[in-house]
């Protein structure tokens, strides 16, 4: 078993549009967070390479490209799974993010994000900021809620 952080909200768009906005416009709706820095540099621009095996990359101001993760499940318009690692993670640690798009109501989609395994960030790691599990997971959940809200208001 691993820990899970789950957040969900509704967007006023069909699943096809919601899925496309998530993967194609992540550069526009993404909001970096100092607690979950992907690299030690200033935040760059995120982008997915579309399709299974595609990378989630962050292009820094210097032009350098950091690989955050890879897509392991590509099932438009209902499901997307990708790995997530930050530069300050131990080398063998990969966490996983699953995004689901479920049609609800009239022309609405329920978009949920489940981020698994973040409790495996070891005690003492810079990625943990000294937080015990519950505080760390709560901060992660609040960040994802903010990200989904931005995604809803910006793109979906």
């Amino acid at each position: 078993m691993t820990s899970k952080v789950y957040v969900a909200l509704r967007v006023k768009a069909a699943p096809e549009r919601a899925f496309a906005a998530f993967v194609q416009e992540i550069g526009a709706w993404w909001r970096p967070n100092g607690l979950f820095q992907t690299t030690p540099r200033a935040p760059g621009v995120l982008a997915f390479e579309l399709g299974e095996g595609g990378r989630l990359t962050e292009t820094l101001e210097s032009g350098k490209v950091f690989e955050i993760g890879r897509i392991s499940a590509w099932e438009p318009p209902s499901r997307l799974v990708f790995s997530w690692r930050q530069a300050n993670f131990p080398p063998d640690l990969h966490t996983e993010v699953e995004v689901r798009f479920e049609a609800v109501g009239e022309g609405e989609t329920r978009v949920s994000v489940e981020h698994r395994g973040f409790d495996q960030v070891p005690a003492g790691s810079a990625a943990r900021h000294g937080f015990p599990d519950e505080a760390l997971l709560m901060r992660l959940a609040e960040w994802w809620r903010g990200l989904l809200t931005s995604y809803r208001d910006t793109s979906a």
Binding site: Y6, M138, R145
Partner: protein
């Protein structure tokens, strides 16, 4: 976050409660934190513009009614906008124990009460008619202040 009230409810089996509350009342899970053993550390379910937090019994003073002989010391009121009788049937079909069937009250709301699988009592209300303060006072014999 804006200022306001919200309630936390405690269950022996919070995961079962999350599933049941969605099935019975149509609440939507909007946040869930699970530890590495799969225990619910925190959760939120939304309905309309409100939400409740569903959690485990986490101290000797935070108990499910199931652990204290079915006693409740407060209840959560669900306000709905349409078709309370259909809402009642849905809750009943999900296994809610009916405490009071739908009935129109003197103040203009139609309400029912039911208890969930661990004994939390929920009140459900829908405003079905506009009632003035004078009418409500005449119907109930109460002196009413603060009627809007």
């Amino acid at each position: 976050m804006t200022a306001g009230f919200r309630s936390a409810l405690f269950y022996q089996d919070p995961k079962a409660a999350l599933a049941w509350l969605e099935k019975a009342f149509g609440f939507e899970l909007t946040m869930l934190l699970e530890d590495a053993e799969g225990n619910v550390a925190h959760s939120q379910m939304s309905f309309g513009n409100g939400y409740v937090m569903i959690g485990q019994e986490w101290s000797a003073d935070h108990k499910s009614p199931k652990s204290v002989g079915g006693k409740n010391t407060q209840t959560v009121n669900i306000q709905i906008e349409t078709d309370i009788d259909a809402h009642f049937e849905r809750a009943k079909a999900a296994g809610a124990v009916i405490v009071a069937a739908p009935e129109t009250q003197f103040y203009g709301d139609r309400t029912y009460r039911c208890s969930d699988p661990e004994g939390h009592i929920w009140t459900v209300s829908q405003t079905v008619q506009a009632v003035s303060r004078e009418e409500a006072e005449a119907a109930s014999g109460l002196k009413i202040t603060g009627w809007l």
